[in-house]
Protein backbone atom coordinates (compact mmCIF):
# COMPACT_ATOMS: atom_id res chain seq x y z
CA UNK A 1 0.00 0.00 0.00
CA UNK A 2 1.32 3.44 -0.88
CA UNK A 3 0.71 5.95 1.89
CA UNK A 4 -0.88 9.21 0.88
CA UNK A 5 0.01 12.61 2.30
CA UNK A 6 -3.10 12.47 4.45
CA UNK A 7 -3.58 8.84 5.43
CA UNK A 8 -6.89 9.61 7.15
CA UNK A 9 -8.44 11.19 4.04
CA UNK A 10 -7.08 8.31 1.97
CA UNK A 11 -8.69 5.65 4.20
CA UNK A 12 -12.00 7.53 4.45
CA UNK A 13 -12.08 7.84 0.64
CA UNK A 14 -11.46 4.08 0.34
CA UNK A 15 -14.29 3.41 2.81
CA UNK A 16 -16.64 5.69 0.84
CA UNK A 17 -15.74 3.97 -2.44
CA UNK A 18 -16.43 0.60 -0.79
CA UNK A 19 -12.83 -0.58 -1.21
CA UNK A 20 -12.56 -1.12 2.55
CA UNK A 21 -15.57 -2.75 4.16
CA UNK A 22 -16.39 -3.72 7.71
CA UNK A 23 -16.79 -7.44 8.29
CA UNK A 24 -20.31 -8.28 9.40
CA UNK A 25 -21.06 -9.26 12.99
CA UNK A 26 -22.52 -12.56 11.74
CA UNK A 27 -19.22 -13.48 10.09
CA UNK A 28 -17.29 -12.57 13.23
CA UNK A 29 -19.69 -14.54 15.45
CA UNK A 30 -19.43 -17.51 13.07
CA UNK A 31 -15.64 -17.37 13.38
CA UNK A 32 -15.85 -17.23 17.19
CA UNK A 33 -18.35 -20.12 17.22
CA UNK A 34 -16.00 -22.15 15.01
CA UNK A 35 -13.09 -21.60 17.41
CA UNK A 36 -15.34 -22.50 20.39
CA UNK A 37 -16.47 -25.69 18.61
CA UNK A 38 -12.86 -26.59 17.75
CA UNK A 39 -11.89 -26.07 21.42
CA UNK A 40 -14.81 -28.27 22.55
CA UNK A 41 -13.82 -31.02 20.09
CA UNK A 42 -10.19 -30.89 21.25
CA UNK A 43 -11.32 -31.02 24.89
CA UNK A 44 -13.68 -33.99 24.38
CA UNK A 45 -11.08 -35.82 22.28
CA UNK A 46 -8.39 -35.31 24.92
CA UNK A 47 -10.78 -36.56 27.63
CA UNK A 48 -11.55 -39.63 25.51
CA UNK A 49 -7.88 -40.40 24.85
CA UNK A 50 -6.76 -39.83 28.45
CA UNK A 51 -9.51 -42.11 29.76
CA UNK A 52 -8.72 -44.67 27.01
CA UNK A 53 -5.05 -44.64 28.09
CA UNK A 54 -5.99 -45.30 31.72
CA UNK A 55 -8.51 -47.97 30.67
CA UNK A 56 -5.91 -49.73 28.50
CA UNK A 57 -3.35 -49.57 31.31
CA UNK A 58 -5.82 -51.04 33.80
CA UNK A 59 -7.27 -53.75 31.59
CA UNK A 60 -3.96 -54.89 30.10
CA UNK A 61 -2.39 -54.94 33.56
CA UNK A 62 0.71 -53.27 32.13
CA UNK A 63 1.26 -51.30 35.35
CA UNK A 64 1.56 -54.59 37.25
CA UNK A 65 4.81 -55.30 35.39
CA UNK A 66 6.39 -52.80 37.77
CA UNK A 67 6.18 -55.36 40.59
CA UNK A 68 8.38 -57.82 38.64
CA UNK A 69 11.74 -56.11 39.20
CA UNK A 70 13.98 -54.49 36.60
CA UNK A 71 12.79 -56.67 33.75
CA UNK A 72 9.25 -55.75 34.75
CA UNK A 73 10.13 -52.05 34.52
CA UNK A 74 11.54 -52.63 31.01
CA UNK A 75 8.39 -54.56 30.07
CA UNK A 76 6.23 -51.74 31.47
CA UNK A 77 8.09 -49.14 29.40
CA UNK A 78 7.81 -51.31 26.29
CA UNK A 79 4.07 -51.89 26.75
CA UNK A 80 3.06 -48.41 27.91
CA UNK A 81 0.48 -46.80 25.57
CA UNK A 82 2.95 -44.15 24.43
CA UNK A 83 1.08 -43.25 21.23
CA UNK A 84 -2.23 -42.66 23.06
CA UNK A 85 -0.45 -40.68 25.77
CA UNK A 86 1.52 -38.71 23.16
CA UNK A 87 -1.60 -37.77 21.20
CA UNK A 88 -3.32 -36.78 24.47
CA UNK A 89 -0.38 -34.52 25.35
CA UNK A 90 -0.42 -32.88 21.90
CA UNK A 91 -4.16 -32.23 22.31
CA UNK A 92 -3.51 -30.76 25.76
CA UNK A 93 -0.91 -28.39 24.29
CA UNK A 94 -3.46 -27.32 21.62
CA UNK A 95 -6.05 -26.86 24.38
CA UNK A 96 -3.65 -24.70 26.45
CA UNK A 97 -2.93 -22.57 23.37
CA UNK A 98 -6.66 -22.07 22.84
CA UNK A 99 -7.24 -21.22 26.50
CA UNK A 100 -4.38 -18.69 26.29
CA UNK A 101 -6.48 -16.59 23.90
CA UNK A 102 -8.75 -15.69 26.82
CA UNK A 103 -7.81 -12.66 28.98
CA UNK A 104 -8.05 -14.52 32.31
CA UNK A 105 -5.47 -17.00 30.97
CA UNK A 106 -2.90 -14.87 29.14
CA UNK A 107 -2.62 -12.39 32.02
CA UNK A 108 -1.16 -15.19 34.12
CA UNK A 109 1.85 -17.42 33.45
CA UNK A 110 1.52 -20.41 31.12
CA UNK A 111 2.24 -22.82 33.96
CA UNK A 112 -1.17 -21.99 35.52
CA UNK A 113 -3.06 -22.56 32.24
CA UNK A 114 -1.16 -25.81 31.66
CA UNK A 115 -1.78 -27.07 35.22
CA UNK A 116 -5.48 -26.16 34.97
CA UNK A 117 -5.86 -27.90 31.58
CA UNK A 118 -3.97 -31.00 32.75
CA UNK A 119 -5.79 -31.08 36.11
CA UNK A 120 -9.29 -30.73 34.64
CA UNK A 121 -8.62 -33.15 31.74
CA UNK A 122 -6.97 -35.76 33.97
CA UNK A 123 -9.72 -35.59 36.63
CA UNK A 124 -12.55 -35.79 34.10
CA UNK A 125 -10.61 -38.44 32.16
CA UNK A 126 -10.45 -40.61 35.29
CA UNK A 127 -14.19 -40.09 35.83
CA UNK A 128 -14.93 -41.09 32.22
CA UNK A 129 -12.68 -44.16 32.64
CA UNK A 130 -14.93 -45.37 35.48
CA UNK A 131 -17.99 -45.29 33.22
CA UNK A 132 -18.91 -48.26 30.94
CA UNK A 133 -17.94 -46.21 27.82
CA UNK A 134 -14.56 -47.83 27.09
CA UNK A 135 -15.66 -51.31 28.15
CA UNK A 136 -18.63 -51.00 25.76
CA UNK A 137 -16.47 -49.72 22.89
CA UNK A 138 -13.88 -52.43 23.59
CA UNK A 139 -16.64 -55.01 23.54
CA UNK A 140 -17.90 -53.70 20.18
CA UNK A 141 -14.37 -53.66 18.81
CA UNK A 142 -13.86 -57.30 19.94
CA UNK A 143 -17.11 -58.42 18.32
CA UNK A 144 -16.18 -56.65 15.08
CA UNK A 145 -19.02 -54.08 15.23
CA UNK A 146 -16.68 -51.13 15.72
CA UNK A 147 -13.42 -52.11 14.05
CA UNK A 148 -12.22 -48.50 13.84
CA UNK A 149 -11.48 -48.32 17.59
CA UNK A 150 -9.88 -51.77 17.77
CA UNK A 151 -6.28 -50.43 17.70
CA UNK A 152 -7.09 -48.22 20.71
CA UNK A 153 -8.07 -51.14 22.89
CA UNK A 154 -5.54 -53.69 21.69
CA UNK A 155 -5.16 -55.89 24.75
CA UNK A 156 -2.46 -58.01 23.12
CA UNK A 157 -0.08 -55.05 23.42
CA UNK A 158 1.86 -56.85 26.16
CA UNK A 159 2.37 -59.84 23.85
CA UNK A 160 4.93 -57.69 22.06
CA UNK A 161 7.13 -57.88 25.17
CA UNK A 162 9.35 -60.96 25.11
CA UNK A 163 7.78 -63.75 27.17
CA UNK A 164 4.95 -61.61 28.51
CA UNK A 165 1.44 -62.99 28.27
CA UNK A 166 -2.08 -61.84 29.02
CA UNK A 167 -4.81 -64.43 29.01
CA UNK A 168 -7.26 -66.57 30.90
CA UNK A 169 -6.01 -69.38 33.10
CA UNK A 170 -7.10 -72.73 31.64
CA UNK A 171 -5.42 -75.10 34.05
CA UNK A 172 -3.16 -74.95 37.11
CA UNK A 173 -1.18 -78.12 37.86
CA UNK A 174 1.79 -78.78 40.05
CA UNK A 175 4.63 -76.90 38.41
CA UNK A 176 2.65 -75.84 35.30
CA UNK A 177 0.18 -73.09 34.46
CA UNK A 178 -1.73 -73.16 31.18
CA UNK A 179 -2.98 -69.94 29.70
CA UNK A 180 -5.35 -69.17 26.81
CA UNK A 181 -4.12 -66.02 25.06
CA UNK A 182 -5.23 -64.33 21.85
CA UNK A 183 -2.35 -66.19 20.14
CA UNK A 184 -3.34 -69.62 21.49
CA UNK A 185 -2.51 -71.84 24.47
CA UNK A 186 0.73 -71.13 26.36
CA UNK A 187 2.23 -73.40 29.02
CA UNK A 188 4.66 -72.01 31.57
CA UNK A 189 6.49 -73.76 34.35
CA UNK A 190 6.32 -72.50 37.92
CA UNK A 191 8.82 -73.01 40.74
CA UNK A 192 9.83 -71.56 44.09
CA UNK A 193 11.07 -68.34 42.43
CA UNK A 194 7.70 -67.60 40.76
CA UNK A 195 6.07 -64.48 42.21
CA UNK A 196 2.33 -65.07 42.77
CA UNK A 197 -0.32 -62.40 43.28
CA UNK A 198 -1.31 -61.52 46.83
CA UNK A 199 -4.65 -62.92 47.93
CA UNK A 200 -6.41 -66.05 46.70
CA UNK A 201 -4.46 -68.61 44.65
CA UNK A 202 -4.56 -68.39 40.86
CA UNK A 203 -7.47 -70.48 39.55
CA UNK A 204 -8.88 -71.42 36.14
CA UNK A 205 -11.06 -68.72 34.59
CA UNK A 206 -9.00 -65.88 36.02
CA UNK A 207 -7.47 -63.31 33.71
CA UNK A 208 -3.76 -62.92 34.43
CA UNK A 209 -0.62 -61.20 33.29
CA UNK A 210 2.53 -63.33 33.30
CA UNK A 211 6.11 -62.29 32.72
CA UNK A 212 8.14 -65.36 31.84
CA UNK A 213 11.78 -66.41 31.55
CA UNK A 214 13.22 -68.74 28.98
CA UNK A 215 15.43 -71.05 30.98
CA UNK A 216 17.29 -74.09 29.73
CA UNK A 217 14.42 -76.36 30.71
CA UNK A 218 11.73 -74.27 28.96
CA UNK A 219 9.47 -71.33 29.65
CA UNK A 220 9.01 -70.40 33.34
CA UNK A 221 6.71 -67.84 34.96
CA UNK A 222 8.81 -65.21 36.77
CA UNK A 223 5.74 -63.29 38.02
CA UNK A 224 1.96 -63.65 37.84
CA UNK A 225 -0.62 -60.92 38.53
CA UNK A 226 -4.40 -61.12 38.20
CA UNK A 227 -6.02 -58.41 36.09
CA UNK A 228 -9.53 -57.25 35.31
CA UNK A 229 -11.38 -58.74 32.38
CA UNK A 230 -12.93 -56.00 30.13
CA UNK A 231 -15.88 -58.27 29.35
CA UNK A 232 -16.55 -58.88 33.07
CA UNK A 233 -16.08 -55.15 33.80
CA UNK A 234 -18.48 -54.32 30.94
CA UNK A 235 -21.08 -56.80 32.23
CA UNK A 236 -20.65 -55.57 35.83
CA UNK A 237 -20.96 -51.87 34.96
CA UNK A 238 -24.06 -52.46 32.85
CA UNK A 239 -25.62 -54.97 35.26
CA UNK A 240 -27.92 -52.50 37.07
CA UNK A 241 -29.52 -51.55 33.75
CA UNK A 242 -30.18 -55.12 32.69
Amino acid sequence: MTPSRDPIAHIIAQIERGEITMRSKVRILAGTALVACAAAVVFVLSLYLISASVFTLRMSGVALFLSFGLRGVAAFLASFPWVLTGISLVLLVVLVRMVRLLPFAYRRSIVYSALAAIGVSATLGLVVEQTPLHAALNNRADTGVLRIVKPLYRQQRVQQVRHAYVGTVERVDAGVIELRTSAGIVRLGTDASTQYPKGPAVAPGQRVLILGDNRSGGLYARGIETIEDPAVFFAATLAPER
Binding site: P3, P7, I12, I20, M22, I28, R107, R108, S109, Y112
Partner: protein, 186 residues
Protein backbone atom coordinates in the same frame (compact mmCIF):
# COMPACT_ATOMS: atom_id res chain seq x y z
CA UNK B 1 -24.02 23.22 12.70
CA UNK B 2 -22.05 19.97 12.97
CA UNK B 3 -21.94 17.81 16.10
CA UNK B 4 -18.98 18.34 18.45
CA UNK B 5 -17.34 14.94 18.72
CA UNK B 6 -14.53 16.00 21.00
CA UNK B 7 -16.62 15.21 24.08
CA UNK B 8 -17.44 11.70 22.93
CA UNK B 9 -15.32 8.84 24.25
CA UNK B 10 -13.45 6.51 21.88
CA UNK B 11 -15.82 3.71 22.80
CA UNK B 12 -18.95 5.78 21.99
CA UNK B 13 -17.45 6.81 18.65
CA UNK B 14 -16.51 3.21 17.87
CA UNK B 15 -20.04 2.05 18.69
CA UNK B 16 -21.48 4.66 16.32
CA UNK B 17 -19.11 3.59 13.56
CA UNK B 18 -20.19 -0.01 14.19
CA UNK B 19 -23.79 1.14 13.71
CA UNK B 20 -22.97 2.56 10.27
CA UNK B 21 -21.74 6.13 10.85
CA UNK B 22 -18.50 5.48 8.94
CA UNK B 23 -17.62 9.20 8.81
CA UNK B 24 -16.89 9.16 12.56
CA UNK B 25 -14.05 6.73 11.92
CA UNK B 26 -12.11 9.76 10.72
CA UNK B 27 -12.47 11.32 14.19
CA UNK B 28 -11.08 8.17 15.80
CA UNK B 29 -8.19 8.02 13.34
CA UNK B 30 -7.37 11.69 13.96
CA UNK B 31 -7.19 10.99 17.71
CA UNK B 32 -4.88 8.03 17.29
CA UNK B 33 -2.76 8.85 14.24
CA UNK B 34 0.07 10.61 16.18
CA UNK B 35 0.08 7.87 18.86
CA UNK B 36 0.18 5.07 16.30
CA UNK B 37 2.90 6.80 14.28
CA UNK B 38 5.01 7.25 17.43
CA UNK B 39 4.44 3.71 18.71
CA UNK B 40 5.09 2.01 15.38
CA UNK B 41 8.12 4.20 14.67
CA UNK B 42 9.65 3.28 18.04
CA UNK B 43 8.72 -0.41 17.88
CA UNK B 44 9.94 -0.73 14.28
CA UNK B 45 13.01 1.37 14.98
CA UNK B 46 15.09 1.61 11.82
CA UNK B 47 12.46 0.11 9.51
CA UNK B 48 11.30 2.01 6.42
CA UNK B 49 7.66 0.96 6.37
CA UNK B 50 6.27 2.84 9.38
CA UNK B 51 3.64 4.84 7.40
CA UNK B 52 2.49 1.69 5.55
CA UNK B 53 2.12 -0.16 8.83
CA UNK B 54 0.14 2.69 10.44
CA UNK B 55 -2.26 2.80 7.46
CA UNK B 56 -2.66 -0.98 7.61
CA UNK B 57 -3.45 -0.73 11.35
CA UNK B 58 -6.35 1.68 10.66
CA UNK B 59 -7.60 -0.40 7.72
CA UNK B 60 -7.53 -3.59 9.83
CA UNK B 61 -9.20 -1.81 12.75
CA UNK B 62 -12.06 -0.65 10.48
CA UNK B 63 -12.43 -4.08 8.85
CA UNK B 64 -12.64 -5.83 12.22
CA UNK B 65 -14.46 -3.09 14.14
CA UNK B 66 -17.48 -5.32 14.79
CA UNK B 67 -15.14 -7.44 16.94
CA UNK B 68 -14.56 -4.53 19.28
CA UNK B 69 -16.42 -4.81 22.57
CA UNK B 70 -17.42 -1.29 23.62
CA UNK B 71 -17.31 -2.26 27.32
CA UNK B 72 -13.53 -2.51 26.97
CA UNK B 73 -10.87 0.02 26.07
CA UNK B 74 -10.72 1.02 22.38
CA UNK B 75 -7.19 2.25 22.91
CA UNK B 76 -5.87 -1.18 24.06
CA UNK B 77 -7.76 -2.87 21.23
CA UNK B 78 -6.14 -0.57 18.64
CA UNK B 79 -2.67 -0.99 20.17
CA UNK B 80 -3.19 -4.77 20.00
CA UNK B 81 -3.83 -4.50 16.24
CA UNK B 82 -0.75 -2.29 15.88
CA UNK B 83 1.29 -4.83 17.89
CA UNK B 84 0.23 -7.62 15.51
CA UNK B 85 1.07 -5.53 12.45
CA UNK B 86 4.53 -4.67 13.82
CA UNK B 87 5.23 -8.33 14.65
CA UNK B 88 4.12 -9.33 11.13
CA UNK B 89 6.44 -6.69 9.65
CA UNK B 90 9.41 -7.91 11.71
CA UNK B 91 8.66 -11.49 10.62
CA UNK B 92 8.39 -10.46 6.95
CA UNK B 93 11.61 -8.45 6.97
CA UNK B 94 13.50 -11.17 8.89
CA UNK B 95 15.97 -8.59 10.16
CA UNK B 96 15.52 -9.40 13.84
CA UNK B 97 14.86 -12.69 15.60
CA UNK B 98 11.53 -13.10 17.39
CA UNK B 99 11.41 -15.68 20.17
CA UNK B 100 9.23 -18.66 19.34
CA UNK B 101 9.42 -19.83 22.93
CA UNK B 102 9.46 -17.34 25.80
CA UNK B 103 10.51 -18.77 29.18
CA UNK B 104 9.50 -15.49 30.89
CA UNK B 105 5.83 -16.23 30.19
CA UNK B 106 5.92 -19.83 31.44
CA UNK B 107 6.64 -19.56 35.15
CA UNK B 108 5.10 -17.10 37.61
CA UNK B 109 7.29 -14.13 38.54
CA UNK B 110 7.09 -12.07 41.72
CA UNK B 111 7.48 -8.76 39.83
CA UNK B 112 3.85 -8.11 39.03
CA UNK B 113 3.02 -4.58 40.06
CA UNK B 114 4.11 -1.15 38.97
CA UNK B 115 6.57 0.24 41.47
CA UNK B 116 7.40 3.84 42.43
CA UNK B 117 10.85 3.12 40.97
CA UNK B 118 9.28 2.73 37.52
CA UNK B 119 8.06 6.34 37.69
CA UNK B 120 11.17 7.69 39.37
CA UNK B 121 13.32 6.35 36.56
CA UNK B 122 11.08 7.69 33.80
CA UNK B 123 13.23 10.69 32.88
CA UNK B 124 16.42 8.64 32.86
CA UNK B 125 14.85 5.84 30.83
CA UNK B 126 13.39 8.26 28.27
CA UNK B 127 16.89 9.67 27.71
CA UNK B 128 18.29 6.14 27.38
CA UNK B 129 15.52 5.19 24.95
CA UNK B 130 16.53 8.00 22.62
CA UNK B 131 20.15 6.89 22.74
CA UNK B 132 19.97 3.12 22.73
CA UNK B 133 16.50 1.87 21.74
CA UNK B 134 17.87 0.16 18.65
CA UNK B 135 20.10 -2.05 20.81
CA UNK B 136 17.10 -3.71 22.44
CA UNK B 137 15.47 -6.93 21.23
CA UNK B 138 11.88 -6.38 19.99
CA UNK B 139 10.52 -8.30 23.00
CA UNK B 140 12.10 -5.73 25.35
CA UNK B 141 11.71 -2.75 23.03
CA UNK B 142 7.94 -2.97 22.84
CA UNK B 143 7.08 -2.95 26.58
CA UNK B 144 9.49 -0.13 27.25
CA UNK B 145 7.92 1.97 24.45
CA UNK B 146 4.41 1.15 25.66
CA UNK B 147 5.19 1.94 29.28
CA UNK B 148 7.49 4.95 29.12
CA UNK B 149 6.42 6.60 25.86
CA UNK B 150 2.79 5.54 25.39
CA UNK B 151 2.17 5.57 29.17
CA UNK B 152 0.19 2.33 29.22
CA UNK B 153 -0.31 0.45 32.49
CA UNK B 154 1.09 -3.06 33.13
CA UNK B 155 -2.39 -4.52 32.61
CA UNK B 156 -2.87 -2.69 29.32
CA UNK B 157 0.57 -3.83 28.11
CA UNK B 158 -0.35 -7.41 29.11
CA UNK B 159 -3.54 -7.12 27.04
CA UNK B 160 -1.74 -5.61 24.04
CA UNK B 161 1.10 -8.14 24.02
CA UNK B 162 -0.98 -11.06 25.35
CA UNK B 163 1.59 -11.89 28.01
CA UNK B 164 1.22 -12.32 31.80
CA UNK B 165 1.21 -9.09 33.82
CA UNK B 166 4.22 -10.31 35.82
CA UNK B 167 6.14 -10.86 32.58
CA UNK B 168 5.58 -7.18 31.70
CA UNK B 169 7.42 -6.28 34.91
CA UNK B 170 10.25 -8.73 34.17
CA UNK B 171 10.69 -7.45 30.60
CA UNK B 172 10.66 -3.81 31.69
CA UNK B 173 13.32 -4.50 34.31
CA UNK B 174 15.51 -6.36 31.81
CA UNK B 175 14.97 -3.65 29.18
CA UNK B 176 16.07 -0.95 31.63
CA UNK B 177 19.14 -2.99 32.57
CA UNK B 178 20.02 -3.49 28.89
CA UNK B 179 19.56 0.21 28.16
CA UNK B 180 21.74 1.20 31.15
CA UNK B 181 24.44 -1.30 30.16
CA UNK B 182 24.38 -0.03 26.56
CA UNK B 183 24.62 3.58 27.78
CA UNK B 184 27.64 2.69 29.95
CA UNK B 185 29.32 0.99 26.94
CA UNK B 186 28.74 4.08 24.82
Amino acid sequence: MGEDHSQLSDEVLATRVQSGDAGLYGVLMRRYLPKMQRYVAKFLFGYDDVEDVVQEVFVKAYTHLQQFDATRSFSSWLYRIAHNECINTIKKRKREPLPFFDPDAIFPHPVAKETPRDHAERAEVLTLIERALRALDPKYREPIVLYYIEERSYKEIADIMRIPIATVGVRLRRAREQLQARARDV
